[in-house]
């Protein structure tokens, strides 16, 4: 995994322009040796961000949570001798230096402090933007939530209050990609990164074959009469259709912006990197099985399904 073989990378670690004392900060490092055990017993290699340093294996990467109006620092340290990465705060719209896109700024070689302002409450995520086709697939992403300025349990100021929150980052693995080097394909080799054939379907890091039905990283437990906010993130590359198991929700925001009018829905389609915030008010106890169908990008045929549950007590 040396740096010597990569092409079209832009190593750098400048000082942050106009740096100020932040209202909140996060430390992030990189791990490249993680593993997720799927329901069929197979261990799949994953990469991700740590809470600083190189120790950690959390997949998805640890969430960031801030309040609207805050100045945020993401202190990113990466061992550039080994590999290059960035952090792009997806949906956050900062200056070029802080956007985390390698070829418009730099791939972080050492340490860089991303400085940005959280201007709009909502659901975002952060991910690596170096050889992105591979690095995001390998798991280098985590949730990024901006709460309203008062910290209330609402998707945005003026949105309905919620009692229970779920973050569903729905992703797929093509396991054949998970043995590649960090710089695979960058010098022109055909490594198959045009041809995704997913074989595992995941909700918030949990195999959607069966584990996500009960694992509390995905499955929801709530009481009848409570309000649930689902923050749904399409964290993969494949179009998805999420079916809410017979519940009807109100889609109230997308991509960190309120919708002018909420849209009632019992299912919803999304494409790569979209986010939707959906409120549910179940009144009847029961087990509602949520399915996420992954759709072939040409034919629209269902190529995989992940399942979780909303347990209403």
């Amino acid at each position: 995994m040396g740096m010597g073989t990569a092409c079209y990378v832009y190593p750098g670690a400048p000082a942050t322009p106009g740096i100020v004392t932040p209202d909140i900060s996060f430390d992030r490092g990189v791990y490249m040796n993680g593993s997720v055990t799927m329901d069929d017993g197979r261990a799949i290699e994953v990469w991700g961000f740590t809470q600083g340093g190189m120790m950690g294996n959390q997949f998805p990467s640890p969430p960031m949570r801030v309040r609207e109006g805050q100045i945020v620092h993401t202190n990113f340290t990466n061992n550039g001798m080994m590999w290059l990465h960035t952090i792009h705060h997806h949906g956050i719209e900062p200056s070029t230096e802080n956007d985390g896109v390698g070829h418009t700024s730099f791939d972080v070689d050492g340490s860089y402090t991303y400085q940005w302002k959280a201007s709009n409450a909502g659901t975002y995520f952060y991910h690596c933007h170096t050889n992105t086709v591979l690095h995001a697939e390998m798991g280098m992403y985590g949730a990024l939530i901006i709460d309203p300025p008062d910290g209330s349990k609402r998707a945005f100021t003026g949105a309905p209050l919620y009692d229970v929150e779920a973050i569903w980052a729905c992703d797929e693995f093509d396991s054949s990609w998970h043995t590649l080097n960090w710089d695979a394909g960058t010098c022109g080799a055909d490594v198959g990164l045009n041809d995704m054939r997913p074989d595992y379907f995941i909700i918030s890091g949990v195999d959607g074959a069966s584990s996500a039905l009960t694992d509390t990283r995905a499955a929801v437990s709530m009481n009848a009469g409570q309000a649930l906010l689902v923050r749904y993130i399409n964290a993969g590359y494949t179009p998805q259709r999420i079916n809410f198991g017979g519940l009807s929700g109100d889609v109230i925001a997308s991509d960190g912006r309120p919708l002018p009018n909420a849209v009632p829905a019992t299912s919803w389609k999304s494409t790569a990197a979209e986010r939707y915030d959906i409120m549910f008010y179940p009144t009847t106890p029961g087990i509602y099985e949520v399915t996420v169908e992954y759709l072939h990008w040409v034919t629209g045929a269902v190529i995989g399904t992940a399942r979780t549950r909303i347990n209403v007590n």
């Binding site: 956007d99 055909d190 494409t271």
Partner: protein, 335 residues
């Protein structure tokens, strides 16, 4: 196939007398409807992909000796009568179709045909060859037309939010196996095994800094003036997005959310602000405005910078199975 010409895709996005200079499509409304004439020659040839592979394409070209993929776009206004003459120079039958507007029927090998239609409804339209669907379209026989509302130079439809500039983004993908099957008049592989290897906007893929052709707007979609978003604060830019391809895509805009005005030809009742806009499989479309507002999350605030629009189904950011950053992407420059 009649000829074997090796051409780079042309970046001269000029459709005769109908449009302005490359990149910035200017439009001066007329008080009265007019009859607008234009002409294309159906030609073929090879286009060199970022990895050096030459791939066979067909196009509605500006001349019988060139190859334009996509066709040069054109703009008319509501009420105009549009006459398009298509000269099929090839040894195969083709057609010229705008769904719901005009269908030439078969334009036989080696013949010409003129179609005439009324541009009755403002909006963005893909014209394409509907024969051998979707393969003739996918190998390059497609292009874009805009119909402006009567008397307006800066709206998509009567009463829509206004813009300062407008662009077309015609997306396509390329599975060379399909192009080769069309070249040899044989049966292409089924759609379930369609595996594109190249991804383009207005016929071009991106090149990152340091790559051969990086500075060449005739090769690099970053700098193709038909494609790149470039403006000062307030230069609201309408992008007419039309996919000629087969795949579902997901456009991600950096630095600003966009105002999504239409999807698949339908005006949306509510305008959503999105950083990701879906493009449906099999000729999905959207009209959107990139507002060129100051990037809202910059601290300290900025009004200049270099950003990107790329597809977030990231397998489209490759060329020939690798080469991240050589796919369907363009630049967003705040000047």
């Amino acid at each position: 196939m009649k000829r074997r010409t090796f051409l780079q895709a042309s970046a001269a996005g000029i459709a005769g007398a109908l449009t302005g200079t490359a990149g910035l499509l200017t439009w001066v409304p007329r008080a009265h409807a007019a009859t607008i004439t234009t002409a294309y020659s159906i030609t073929d040839g090879y286009i060199t992909q970022p990895d050096g592979v030459n791939v066979y394409f067909k196009g509605y070209s500006d001349s019988a000796t060139g190859l334009n993929v996509p066709a040069s776009s054109f703009i008319v206004q509501e009420g105009d009568t549009v006459q398009v003459t298509i000269n099929n120079t090839l040894g195969t039958d083709h057609s010229f179709v705008i769904d719901g507007v005009v269908d030439s029927g078969v334009i036989a090998a080696g013949t010409s045909k003129t179609v005439s239609f009324l541009a009755s409804t403002a909006g963005s339209y893909l014209f394409y060859d509907k024969l051998n669907t979707p393969y003739n379209r996918a190998v390059g026989l497609h292009g874009a037309m805009a119909v402006m509302p009567t008397g307006s130079a800066n709206t998509l439809y009567a009463g829509s939010p206004s813009f300062v500039k407008q662009l077309f983004w015609v997306y396509n993908e390329c599975d060379p196996a399909v192009n080769e099957a069309v070249r040899t008049n044989s049966t292409p592989p089924p759609l379930s095994s369609y595996v594109p290897r190249y991804f383009t906007i207005n016929g071009l893929s991106a090149r990152p800094p340091g790559a051969p052709g990086y500075d060449d707007p005739a090769i690099n979609s970053y700098y193709d003036p038909r494609t790149a978003l470039a403006g000062y604060i307030g230069d609201r830019t309408l992008v007419r997005v039309l996919s000629a391809g087969l795949c579902t895509h997901s456009m991600h805009f950096h630095a600003n959310h966009v105002e999504l005005l239409t999807r698949n030809g339908s005006v949306l009742a509510d305008i959503w602000l999105k950083d990701v806009v879906s493009l449906d499989n099999n000729m999905g479309s959207a009209d959107l405005i990139y507002p060129f507002d100051p990037p809202p999350d910059a601290w300290p605030p900025v009004s200049t910078g270099n950003f990107v629009m790329h597809l977030h189904n990231e397998q489209t950011q490759t060329s020939g199975g690798g080469s991240y950053q050589f796919g369907a992407q363009t630049s967003i420059k705040f000047k």
